[in-house]
């Protein structure tokens, strides 16, 4: 139990990752797929951020009062990744709107059937 608690951040990461990927694969609704994709991407933010945090460490501003700093790099990286994630989600949503206008549905299988005809 303590073993699990000590690495709780990784467990949460893995659960989110699998849940997100499962939603993407299992759901036929295009909006739900995008939700799953969002969760999947969010898990990666956690994967990057948690190793950068040092317990008791402070923000990396050099001062005589502190000698333990957290790593600022993951925040910078994840800020970029969040921007990418937002852009992807926005584009995905825009496509779903257009698909709804063109097909009248956003269910994967119904769209697929209409394309076959």
């Amino acid at each position: 139990m303590t073993e699990i608690l000590a690495n709780i951040n990784y467990w949460v990461t893995i659960i989110l990752m699998i849940a997100g990927l499962y939603i993407v694969a299992a759901h036929g609704n295009m909006i739900k797929k995008l939700v799953g994709l969002g969760i999947f991407q969010t898990s990666v933010y956690l994967l990057f951020l948690s190793p950068g945090k040092i317990l008791g460490g402070t923000a990396p501003i050099i001062s005589e009062d502190f000698d333990l700093y957290s790593n600022p790099l993951p925040h910078v990286l994840i800020l970029t990744a969040i921007v990418v994630g937002v852009a992807t989600l926005a584009l995905g949503m825009a496509l779903v709107v257009r698909i709804y206008e063109a097909y009248g549905t956003i269910e994967d299988d119904e769209v697929h059937d209409m394309e076959k005809e």
Binding site: T80, A87, T88
Partner: protein
């Protein structure tokens, strides 16, 4: 001096200019200029690398591994040449094709997206920073989803959506891999990683990172069976986008595979200690056959060429799976050749579409008499695709066969030849319909495609023949590239 930065910055600025001016002709002019400039820079960079060795460029003056480094060796200089070369050839073609297939208000957006894809792909190739790879990959991917969604009918939308889902899953897998590597080594610089990973290469996180990266990159390069997004994406996008993506996007993903396998993860020995060569080998063979056979039964010629792309990517990964100098020579040569051939074929099909208004193979009956030049180009590139001597396709397949022989695999040589014969079936089918069938509908109005479309396509047709006869670039340089990759001189 600042050529490496300009390589990426010029198309990036040009893309924003296109979006700002919103004027179709001006946007095309900017696109043409930017893509030709990029090509010129790529040539200069390649010459510099050949004469002086690896170029390291510190972005903003921050020293690597803290700052972001652009690092160019023979391999990525060569890939830069392929990507910007294809971009430069397609740019003049785009004007006529785009002005017909898109409404006026969308045209400048298309050029903007085209340049963003170019920016992203060049960025992925040139950068020496792992996280930078992810960012540029997503720039190019997001822009390509938009290009595909601009396709002629509504199926372009679903193709783009499907590609968006699978492409994002792939990109996220790549970031997970990069994150694990970063957590283990504390660095994102590819060169720095290549120094640190061999010390810990059998630890579980590093192996997990390798697995995530391999799957993520394989999704991007459409390795069988992760290719499901590709046929629709190429079939239902505007002709210019199909040609451009088929010539460049998957090639850049293959570059990433080579870079991670042979540079970052410490070279051939480690690669061969994993099960990867066997997995790649089997999947490549499956791709070569399954997708070639599926291609034979397509009624849409663009979809046929798209399946053929997956099959040809199988040839490339087959060469990688051997991990010998000859195998890699074959793979990298085929990467170059396939970029020329497939971009050329899609351009010619786009020209047919321009006049005929259809991409159904049956509608092309008798078109060989009405559009003789276009179809002649198609036949030459088709011959090259199946590996006829005197064309580039022969050279790369020759090296792939040599690589198989070196391993003593006679049967693999037989399979390479057999897969090429299946290629003959689907190319032959188009040729048969185009030349030997009576036209099914009235074709009196049909004329040859405009020269602004034919000339770019024939530059690629010419290249396919020229580099098949004069092999100093297609083999001579590629051999250097392959040996520098094997000897890990990054």
């Amino acid at each position: 001096m600042h050529l490496p930065a300009l390589q990426v910055v010029i198309p990036l600025i040009a893309a924003t200019l296109c979006a700002l001016f919103r004027q179709s002709f001006l946007a095309w002019l900017i696109t043409l200029l930017a893509s030709w400039l990029s090509f010129a820079i790529a040539i200069l960079l390649l010459l510099q690398v050949i004469s002086r060795g690896v170029i390291s460029y510190e972005l903003g003056g921050w020293v690597a591994p803290i700052g972001i480094e652009y690092r160019i060796d023979l391999l990525n200089a060569f890939v830069l040449l392929i990507v910007s070369g294809v971009g430069a050839v397609i740019a003049p073609y785009a004007r006529r094709s785009i002005s017909q297939s898109l409404v006026k208000s969308e045209q400048s957006w298309f050029y903007s997206m085209y340049l963003l894809v170019l920016t992203g792909l060049l960025g992925v190739t040139i950068t020496g920073d792992a996280f930078n790879i992810f960012v540029f990959l997503e720039i190019s991917s997001l822009a390509s989803y938009v290009m595909i969604a601009m396709g002629p009918d509504r199926r372009g939308l679903t193709a783009a959506y499907q590609y968006l889902i699978m492409g994002t899953v792939g990109a996220t897998f790549i970031v997970i891999g990069i994150g694990l590597l970063w957590a283990m080594t504390g660095t994102l610089n590819l060169y720095d990683l290549s120094q640190k990973i061999p010390l810990i290469e059998n630890s579980r996180p590093v192996l997990a990172a390798l697995a995530f990266l391999t799957v993520g990159i394989s999704l991007k390069l459409a390795l069988f069976p992760l290719h499901l997004w590709l046929p629709n994406a190429y079939a239902y996008s505007p002709g210019v986008a199909s040609a451009f993506l088929a010539g460049t996007a998957t090639k850049v993903a293959i570059y990433l595979l080579l870079r991670f396998f042979f540079t970052v993860f410490g070279g051939v020995d480690f690669f061969q200690s994993t099960p990867l060569p066997e997995i790649l080998f089997v999947l490549s063979l499956l791709a070569m056959f399954a997708c070639s056979i599926v291609a034979v039964f397509q009624s849409n010629i663009k979809r046929m060429l798209a399946y053929s792309s997956v099959a040809q990517i199988g040839f490339i990964t087959l060469g990688i799976s051997y991990a010998t100098e000859i195998g890699l020579t074959g793979a990298i040569a085929h990467m170059f050749n396939h970029a020329i051939m497939k971009a050329g074929l899609f351009l010619l099909v786009g020209a047919v579409m321009f006049r005929l208004g259809s991409v159904k193979i049956e509608d092309m009956a008798g078109i060989g008499r009405k559009m003789p030049i276009t179809m002649a180009g198609f036949v030459v590139l088709g011959l090259s695709l199946l590996g006829a001597p005197g064309t580039v396709g022969f050279i790369s397949k020759w090296y792939l066969a040599l690589a198989a022989l070196q391993e003593g695999q006679w049967w693999a040589v037989a399979l390479i030849v057999a897969a090429s014969l299946v290629t003959m079936l689907y190319i032959g089918r188009v040729v048969e319909v185009a030349y030997f069938r009576e036209p099914t509908k009235n074709m009196d109005q049909l004329r040859e495609a405009p020269s602004s479309m034919l000339i770019p396509a024939f530059v690629l047709v010419g290249a396919a023949v020229y580099f098949g006869l004069d092999t100093s670039l297609s083999v001579g340089l590629v051999q250097h590239v392959a040996s520098s990759l094997i000897n890990a001189t990054y």
